[in-house]
């Protein structure tokens, strides 16, 4: 199973900045191993962010997002104690969801 994400969600006024680190290889499918064999593509394709259960952002990613991806966005109206959840799904169908409380 995939390793956990790190989600930081910090409120300032009526805005909450969310910073996410995801644990993923993000293999492009264009690299070769030492034996010259192509390493198959393996990358996060879809990312969803929710605020107290309501979807606020969806994203489609390609393999050129860096390994162990970083994502930052700002949620309007979120306040301390609210829940921010992030879900990713990769091209092999693996998925992972983690949740953080706004501080």
């Amino acid at each position: 199973m995939a390793d956990p994400m790190r989600i930081r969600a910090q409120a300032a006024g009526d805005k909450t900045t969310v910073r996410v680190l995801m644990s993923h290889e993000m293999e492009t499918g264009q690299r070769k191993d030492s034996a010259g064999k192509v390493i198959p593509a393996w990358f996060i394709q879809e990312v969803t962010a929710t605020h107290n259960g309501k979807t606020v952002l969806t994203a489609d990613w390609g393999p050129s997002i860096s390994k162990n991806p970083f994502l930052q966005f700002v949620v309007k109206g979120a306040k301390a104690g609210d829940k921010i959840a992030i879900t990713w799904v990769d091209n092999k169908g693996d998925k992972r969801t983690d949740e953080a409380t706004v501080s």
């Binding site: 390793d3 680190l21 390994k67």
Partner: protein
């Protein structure tokens, strides 16, 4: 030293059009600053923290009773006092070899088997994650390795000799690159590790996340790759020389602030 104020990502969004011409050094400093917020080392920290309290291994036990030198279970402050002498094993141990001892005695893992595992795989990857979290728990603290025990003083003396030991096809020692002030390999600044090189530099920066390959590098792996580039044979994981070198660098770094786990941006030598 550069005194120019670094621009954060958010501010940058407002003033892209008005950016003046910057020097290469300023440009690179700006790039480094951008990467500091959101160091993927945090992912390994989180993994290590979870592993510490998780019941695992043949004995289905956690590591919460592991003694890193500050008493059983005490994590904060341990990193900046390692390597040190441990009475139970009767040897000086660095963080990683001590973790393997705890995994063997508390959880029932085979220590020799872990030591043989390549970096980044299996239980060795878990040792690195644990070391990352334990290092992070001492972030901002200053190095202060104990030297009260004769074995600790001997470790320092062995480490010093290993640091200057020339060998291999190229006659290199650690000191060939890290024995003088203000030297570089290509564009890479080389810390002088025969003294305190400053806060967060050299010994005080590892474990570190390397953006070039997206890997978390522990001090044992850092030393391993130094020896590879020195054209030496392969140092055993947790071997006497690697621990003695860590003692030498750690004692020399007395007073330096730990920033580990750091983020390193360099490409590897080709």
């Amino acid at each position: 030293m550069r005194t120019r104020t670094l621009i954060g990502l958010a501010t940058l969004a407002l003033c892209t059009g008005a950016q003046a011409q910057k020097s290469t050094a300023d440009g690179i400093a700006e790039y480094r600053k951008m990467l500091e917020d959101g160091n993927p080392a945090e992912l390994f920290e989180a993994k290590g923290e979870a592993l510490w309290s998780q019941k695992r291994g043949p004995k289905n036990a956690s590591l919460e009773k592991c003694d890193l030198g500050q008493g059983p279970g005490v994590v904060k402050g341990a990193f900046v006092t390692l390597p040190r002498y441990f009475p139970d094993t009767q040897r000086v141990q660095d963080l990683e070899s001590r973790l393997v001892t705890c995994m063997a005695t508390l959880q029932g893992f085979d220590a020799a088997e872990i030591a043989k595992t390549p970096f980044g795989r299996g239980e060795m990857a878990n040792v690195t994650a644990l070391a990352t979290w334990i290092a992070a728990s001492s972030r901002g603290m200053r190095f202060n390795l104990p030297q009260g025990n004769a074995a600790e003083r001997e470790s320092y003396e062995v480490g010093k000799r290993a640091f200057f030991y020339r060998g291999g096809t190229h006659d290199f020692s650690c000191a060939s690159c890290h024995g003088e002030e203000g030297k570089r390999i290509r564009l890479q600044d080389l810390p002088n590790l025969t003294k305190n090189p400053g806060d967060g530099i050299g010994f005080a920066a590892w474990p570190a996340y390397r953006v070039s390959n997206g890997q978390m590098w522990s001090m044992q792996l850092r030393l391993n790759d130094c020896f590879r580039q020195q054209r030496f044979p392969y140092p055993g994981f947790g071997s006497e020389v690697t621990i003695a070198l860590a003692t030498y660098m750690g004692v020399n770094a007395k007073g330096a602030e730990s920033i580990a786990p750091a983020i390193k941006r360099r490409r590897r030598c080709k």
